[in-house]
């Protein structure tokens, strides 16, 4: 008994001490884990399969729920939309044969005639109108406010009116509503939250909310010639398993262990450890979001003074900010835009975009009537991730004698505070997601006409800017020149200052020849190019 006690005590001590000290060792990329990377997938019937680690999660896969960027990526894999926007910003057809603008903002869409959902229900214009109206009724995305009155006018013809002529809005409307048959939707007792029936190339085989989603190539997919579909609706792999791994370290470990074959949005620093491993490929791609600093420009507020805004812009060291926020993996930007967008203008790269100049910053600060140490500002950041950027900016501002208090509310509070009328912040670091047509992002940032108080969310009320924004975002007047002029004016007035755009790291099995990222920056496993030897299994 005594010996047993001693043994038990020793075992307990050993277990806890080993667990405690385990992390003290050096990093190990785990060659054995890598060796099993491709083969880790559980297979059946010789089907190819890719397991993807996703740094996000969803509790529902219903077609009209509130969607984050990650959920949109997941939905794009198995839901079908009328069309998809390609990487050049052009709308490609999935379900329609033709659409035309008959009058003003009225559109008539003609559908393909052979569309069926994966249960065999035919998809007609009635179904499309149902989907558009259902999405609008639930109102879970602002895109659903861009149209109204979707109505079937024939078996394969339906019409709708746009409520805005903003550039890119039509593309968003055509590519954002998930199409299902009315019969299947109404037959579902949970609004397709767990077991949706789409008309896409993949069917949902298994869904565990918050854990994983498995989709498999549909046996009876209505479209026999896949070239008739857009690039992002291809089905080059038989089975796709998405594992929701919200913890960043776990995502890296899952790659090391071969539990997943690919992972998106891997921390770029963690991704570097896979670069020397021949089992993996690592790619860094420009993201479609960019971080800017906005000033509370309301009349009477400190930042209504252009000189003070310019003082801050000159004080900020963009390189340092980018390095602090992305460990050097991001890219400094020279306008309120990202090179990801197809209409990004290379001329911006050569602009003199408030280069870091402490002396000049001090001059502007003096011109604004402030002496060093006199001013303290509230600097708000959108996420914890942008806090390092805020800290660098605070240090930069300290150099010219501006003190900063950093506020970093949770996402729910941020969305309440983001409007400068909340009086919480003087300057705010915020990211914006650029569409393929970058000019469309000006709408949310600087179009005062869409707000009751006639000011932008950062308190700008400037008729010149408003006319430039309207010219840049209206479908009729949008051009490379109008977009450029608007950016130029924004730069000259320093209403906001572009900081950096992060890069996204993709780590994937070397058996994948090329990964496919769609126009919205979303990874689409079905559209990737797989080598002939990739994960094919005999059993």
């Amino acid at each position: 008994m005594k010996r047993l006690k001693k043994l038990s005590a020793s075992f307990l001590c050993m277990t806890i001490m080993l667990g405690t000290l385990a992390g003290c060792g050096g990093s190990d990329t785990g060659t054995a884990g890598n060796a099993s990377a491709g083969a880790a997938s559980v297979q059946s019937e010789g089907k190819t399969k890719i397991t993807v680690g996703v740094n996000g999660t969803t509790e529902s896969i219903g077609p009209y729920i509130t969607t984050s960027n990650i959920i949109k990526m997941i939905f794009n894999m198995f839901y079908m939309q009328l069309g998809s926007v390609d990487r050049e910003g052009v709308l490609q057809s999935n379900l329609y044969t033709d659409f035309e603008n008959t009058e003003d903002m009225h559109y008539v869409v003609t559908l393909k005639e052979n569309i069926k959902d994966n249960d065999g229900n035919p998809i007609t214009a009635e179904d499309i109108a149902f989907c558009y109206n259902k999405a609008k009724e639930l109102g879970t995305s602002s895109i659903y406010t861009y149209y109204e009155n979707a109505e079937a006018t024939g078996e394969y013809t339906f019409e709708f009116d746009m409520t805005t002529d903003a550039v890119g809005a039509l593309n968003q409307v055509m590519s954002s509503v998930n199409i299902v048959s009315q019969a299947a939707y109404e037959a579902s007792d949970d609004e397709m939250n767990v077991d949706p029936v789409s008309c896409g190339p993949y069917v949902v085989r298994e869904f565990t909310p918050g854990s994983k989603l498995v989709i498999e190539k549909a046996d009876n997919f209505w479209c026999e010639d896949m070239s008739e579909l857009s690039e992002n609706k291809q089905a080059n792999v038989d089975v796709i398993e998405l594992q929701f791994i919200t913890e960043e370290t776990q995502l890296t470990i899952a790659l090391q262990q071969g539990t997943v074959d690919a992972a998106i949005d891997v921390n770029p620093v963690n991704a570097t450890q896979f670069e020397s491993d021949s089992s993996y490929k690592v790619e860094y791609k420009a993201s479609n979001f960019f971080y800017n600093i906005y000033f509370d420009c309301r009349e009477g507020h400190i930042f209504s003074d252009e000189n003070l805004r310019k003082a801050v812009c000159y004080a900020i060291d963009q390189e340092e900010v980018m390095y602090g926020a992305t460990q050097g993996t991001g890219q400094v930007i020279h306008a309120l835009a990202t090179p990801y967008s197809s209409d990004y203008d290379e001329r911006w790269d050569t602009w003199e975009y408030y280069p870091h100049d402490v002396e000049k910053a001090k001059e502007y600060l003096a011109a604004a009537g402030y002496s060093e140490g006199e001013l303290t500002i509230n600097l708000m950041c959108q996420f914890e991730q942008s806090k390092p950027a805020a800290e660098v900016i605070a240090t930069n501002l300290q150099e010219i004698g501006i003190n900063s208090e950093i506020i970093c509310p949770d996402s729910a509070l941020y969305s309440t505070y983001m409007d400068c009328t909340s009086d919480v912040w003087d300057a705010s670091i915020m990211f914006y997601v650029a569409q393929q047509i970058g000019a469309s992002s000006l709408n949310g940032q600087f179009n005062a006409a869409v707000r009751e108080n006639g000011m932008t969310f950062s308190g700008i009320s400037d008729p010149t800017l408003q006319s430039l924004v309207e010219a840049a975002i209206s479908e009729d007047t949008y051009s490379r020149d109008t977009y450029y002029e608007c950016q130029e004016y924004l730069r000259d007035k320093a209403y906001a200052y572009g900081l950096y755009t992060p890069q996204l790291a993709y780590v994937y099995d070397a058996g994948i020849e090329e990964i496919y990222i769609d126009s919205n920056g979303r990874f689409i496993p079905g559209a990737c190019t797989y080598s002939s030897s990739y994960a094919v299994f005999d059993n």
Partner: protein, 322 residues
């Protein structure tokens, strides 16, 4: 005893009602706009206002409170998540078994490891075994469990490749989450068991038992331990109740879709229905866990059972007198 249980169950009604009103009020006043979160930062204020109106978020406090209480306690409907449109009951039903396994496993491990550790430390008071055990317990209490979880993953998954790093597809997937989740419980139980045992082994009846020549092991395990178990069981009940709602870090690290993680996401998204429903369900479960603990105490200690019976008799006597 039956009456006691019935009384306790009836007492749960005002508790749950109070919790419901409290959580509704907290969520009502907490800043953060659900409609804005749903529509994203690019939505205009008009769009946000329209969505708020359609969700009924613009209604006054009392209108919303009455609607919520009626729906929950009269219609017995916990509602649907604003974000996902999934009925909360379905989601809780799917997630609860996972959280329950985690909580039960962690509590069981805490008792199985913590109590023997505490007993050993008490029996060998002021000896090296006592110091080592209590040092380990102190380390366990001081160590954040998310950090331990990551260290266990590094050791058992990455280096030794013995256990999965995440996921609960296989029974082995539960080992690391349960071990890391039980760390604080083990340490607390060890310290509590030691303290209780020290009280008991210095009491007269233990001295008497020893002097009568009973074997040491019998004195410790049969006579002393049952008397020392009362605070241990009381703590175990509380720990179990806490783990039902408080395992979100472990769930997050190990990608376990349980209630804790669901609740935290809902709080961040201001998904009022989910938060309110989760808190109500958890308050009921916590009350039940405490009730079960009390019943268990009565089973372990006849004196407590006598107290329950005596309370019933006193009430009967009062009634007779009245």
């Amino acid at each position: 005893m039956k009456k006691y249980i019935l009384n306790r169950l009836l007492m749960m009604i005002p508790v749950v009602l109070g919790v419901s009103i409290l959580i509704f009020t907290l969520m009502y006043f907490v800043p953060g706009d659900l409609a804005r979160i749903m529509l994203g930062t690019s939505a205009t204020q008009e769009e946000v206002n329209a969505l708020r109106e359609s969700l009924g978020l613009n209604d006054p406090y009392f209108v919303r409170l009455v609607r919520f209480l009626k729906q929950t306690f009269i219609d017995f409907d916990l509602g649907k998540s604003y974000m996902t449109n999934v009925p909360v009951t379905e989601e809780l039903a799917a997630r609860f078994p996972r959280t329950l396994i985690l909580a039960l496993g962690s509590t069981a491990l805490a008792l199985l490891v913590g109590v023997p550790m505490g007993v050993m430390a008490a029996v060998h008071q002021n000896e090296p075994r006592d110091y080592i055990t209590m040092s380990i317990a102190l380390l366990g209490i001081s160590m954040p469990n998310f950090w331990l979880a990551l260290m266990l993953i590094v050791l058992f998954s990455v280096k030794l490749k013995l256990l999965p790093a995440a996921g609960i597809d296989t029974p082995a997937g539960w080992i690391l989450p349960i071990v890391s989740n039980s760390l604080i419980g083990i340490s607390t139980q060890a310290r509590q068991a030691r303290s209780s045992m020290l009280d008991v082994i210095h009491s007269d009846f233990v001295t008497t038992a020893k002097s009568k020549g009973l074997p040491r092991q019998k004195v410790i395990w049969k006579h002393a331990l049952p008397n020392a178990l009362i605070p241990v069981v009381t703590i175990a009940g509380g720990v179990f109740g806490n783990l039902l709602a408080g395992s979100m870090i472990t769930e997050s690290v190990f990608s376990i879709p349980g209630i804790g993680y669901y609740l935290i996401s809902a709080v961040n998204n201001r998904d009022y229905t989910v938060v309110q429903s989760c808190v109500i369900v958890l308050s009921i479960l916590f009350s039940l866990a405490i009730l079960l603990t009390d019943i268990l105490l009565a089973v372990i200690d006849p004196r407590i059972k006598e107290q329950f019976a005596a309370n019933g008799n006193i009430r009967k006597m009062k009634k007779r007198v009245a």
